[in-house]
């Protein structure tokens, strides 16, 4: 056995630490090049959407082509604001984690357009099943920075009552589902939610997000199968940021066909979109949402972007990819591109931008100050640990009541620790 040469194919990223970044593997289309079909089109007639790349903002930051949405500059300024807030917030939280003041964090650096553009294209009654890099969806849908920080602090105002890792937000009011630590599990939930909406005859749709890496999970398959069979009104987003921790997207099967094509075999149309192009994302999401709302069934959207930062605060990407790879990413920086587009149209300026950045920084600082008043990891007020027995069930059953009592005793001075 040892003398024969292995014939197993092993995917390789185009560059490793020390190498020159190389994005030649990415198929790009120029802005405006991809046709915009009617939402009634049959899947087989619009397969081209899964292999092209829908782009609106061209290299000169001009909006161009059939997908260019009709959005007034005021709305775009608002969008820019949310994207910037996401970035400022992430940066601060990252620092805060580095100072040891929260246990963990994950940032969306370079992917901010995804959440903001899709958030804006959906209606408030639509239900979102996000991944851990969709914090801007929560923000856009009304979750306050203080609430988000309190969640990360597991403090007395934490919506999760200290039960979840930082960033695992939820908000029923905002129609934002609870984030799970288990990849991809939210995908079939979104489909089931959408099926229920259809059963009830409502026109709310669902949308779900996961990463390129997570497409390999079983739940991805379950979700697309059920979505296709029942023509559920759902948007299935794949945020292809090229990396899954240390593993490049080839290990998720991205070497041969774009992720947008994953549902074609089931008749689910796929759209491959420039994930750093706010306008393109907005337009494609609106198209898919319309289609779903009018009974056209599911659409898959692959958002081609790049994970600008580390996977999480536990990760060190310099171990597995060129340090400055993001700078060479051909689709650039989503914030910068929307900014330049607005500047080009005379609706924005460097000065305004700087000023806004300062404002947002101050807003985040103020929020952080406020959040800490509800407690930190080291300073009170602290959450009452006895709450850990709540919500396991709708009512606290007897055995958990007695375990709660025992816990309080042990935590007290005269503890005794035998079983209840």
């Amino acid at each position: 056995m040892a003398d024969k040469k292995s014939r197993l194919h092993i995917p390789h990223p185009t560059a490793r630490p020390g190498d020159k970044p190389d994005f030649s593997y990415l198929d790009l289309s120029p802005a405006g090049a991809v046709d915009k079909p009617s939402i009634d089109s049959r899947t087989r007639d619009i397969e081209y959407l899964s292999s092209g790349l829908v782009r609106v903002l061209d290299d000169d930051h001009q909006a161009t082509g059939p997908w260019a949405p009709d959005l007034d500059p005021g709305k775009l300024q608002i969008a820019l604001r949310w994207m910037m807030l996401n970035r400022v917030f992430d940066k601060r939280m990252w620092q805060i984690q580095r100072q040891g003041r929260i246990s963990f964090y994950m940032e969306a650096l370079g992917e901010e357009a995804v959440s903001v553009a899709q958030g804006m294209a959906l209606r408030p009654g639509d239900m979102c099943f996000p991944s851990y890099r969709n914090q801007a969806l929560y923000m856009y849908r009304g979750m306050s920075l203080v609430d988000m920080m309190c969640q990360c602090l597991s403090n007395t105002r934490d919506m999760c009552k200290g039960r979840q890792l930082p960033i695992m937000y939820h908000s029923a009011k905002a129609n934002m589902f609870s984030i799970s630590g288990n990849l991809a599990t939210q995908y079939p939930h979104a489909v089931g939610w959408a099926m229920a909406s259809a059963i009830k005859g409502e026109d709310h749709i669902a949308a779900a997000w996961l990463g390129d890496g997570a497409t390999a999970e079983a739940d991805f398959h379950h979700a697309i199968t059920f979505a296709a069979v029942y023509q559920a009104p759902v948007i299935l987003n794949i945020v292809n940021n090229q990396w899954a921790i240390s593993t490049f997207q080839g290990f998720a099967g991205g070497e041969r066909r774009p992720f947008a094509a994953r549902g074609l075999g089931l008749g689910i149309p796929g759209i491959r979109v420039d994930g750093n192009d706010f306008l393109a994302i907005y337009a494609t999401t609106l198209w898919a949402a319309d289609r779903a709302r009018r009974g056209g069934g599911p659409t898959m959207i692959e958002l081609v972007t790049y994970r600008g930062g580390a996977h999480s605060t536990s990760d060190d990407p310099s171990k597995y990819r060129p340090k400055d790879e993001w700078q060479d990413f051909p689709l650039g920086d989503p914030v910068e591109r929307l900014k330049q587009h607005l500047i080009l149209g005379g609706q924005w300026s460097e000065e305004q931008h700087e000023k806004l950045e300062e404002e947002l920084t101050a807003e985040v600082t103020a929020a952080w100050k406020e959040a800490q008043q509800y407690g930190t990891m080291t300073e009170g007020p602290f959450l009452d640990p006895s709450t850990m027995f709540d919500d396991v069930y709708a009512e606290v059953p007897r055995h958990l009541q007695s375990q709660r009592r025992r816990m309080m005793e042990v935590e007290g001075v005269n503890g005794e620790g035998s079983e209840s």
Binding site: S178, S180, Y187, P188, H189, F226, A394, P397, H399
Partner: protein, 338 residues
Amino acid sequence: MTQMNMIEAIRSGLDVMMDRDPAVVMMGEDIGYFGGVFRCTDGLQRKYGEHRVIDAPIAEGGIIGAAIGMGLNGLRPVPEIQFADYIYPGFDQVVSELARIRYRSCGEFFSPVTIRTPCGGGIRGGQTHSQSPEAIFAHVSGILTVMPSNPYDAKGLLISSIESDDPVIFFEPKRIYNGPFDGDPEKPAKSWASHPRGEVPEGHYTVPLGKAEIVREGTELTIITYGTLVHVAQAAAEETGVDCEIVDIRTIAPLDVDTLADSVNKTGRCVIAHEATRFGGFGAEIAARIQKECFYNLEAPIGRIAGWDTPYPHAFEWQYFPGKKRLAAGIRSMMEVE
């Protein structure tokens, strides 16, 4: 009151709930047009439509995952997994999601799913149509685990499960779908027609979750059991002549420890019987609790009679199955302990 077998009682429970609550929907493999391989949903699609009794792709993980999503959107899904042996592909959705959503969202989200699934052997189903995996679900906090032993309880517990806002895994011991089975495969099959618990009200009623039932009073020894083994235990008790008290736990999690402990404290002897493999089976949890609660009253070590620690073999299901002989032997040998 009508005489029903367990299939009819379950169907009646589903019918009652679908009728009362338009949010109740069902989904599963072959459950719709066909009415289910065990006929538990027969006629319900015709009555409630194919949008509420939904035939599903063969993907247990997808069925449970989608059901969770439906539950999050105000429905009350009652998915069926065709055989308990096939629930494992959906295990992650049960453990990591169904059981956890309420907790991690502090009650803002929950999904009141009841998963029905036939379990147990004795129908020549071989190792992949005979398993009783209740112990692995019992270990998962956040879900209830239920296993009825007769038509009356089946319907009443099923209605309670569907009405519960907590998720429930509802195991249906398929060996007793058609009649109480006393563990002797040589004897002609009995039907539920002559059994008092085959008398089932047609309308709505509930049997409470989390409550065990003493199905036979006795003074010398307590048999704690559930599902098919309830009937085997009764037969074994008769055969030995020992005055056994038999407790049907009915809900596996949460466990009604008080009823169990009271009985053992009274009799001083305890045998636990279940069909699943013994090692790490649910009998272990019962034994661990009983030795704790009844330590000073136990006159003999607690015994466990269960399936052997092997897969369930097709040809030897009656050697594998903890039948009347094995139970009777266990009872007798325990009575010999001074």
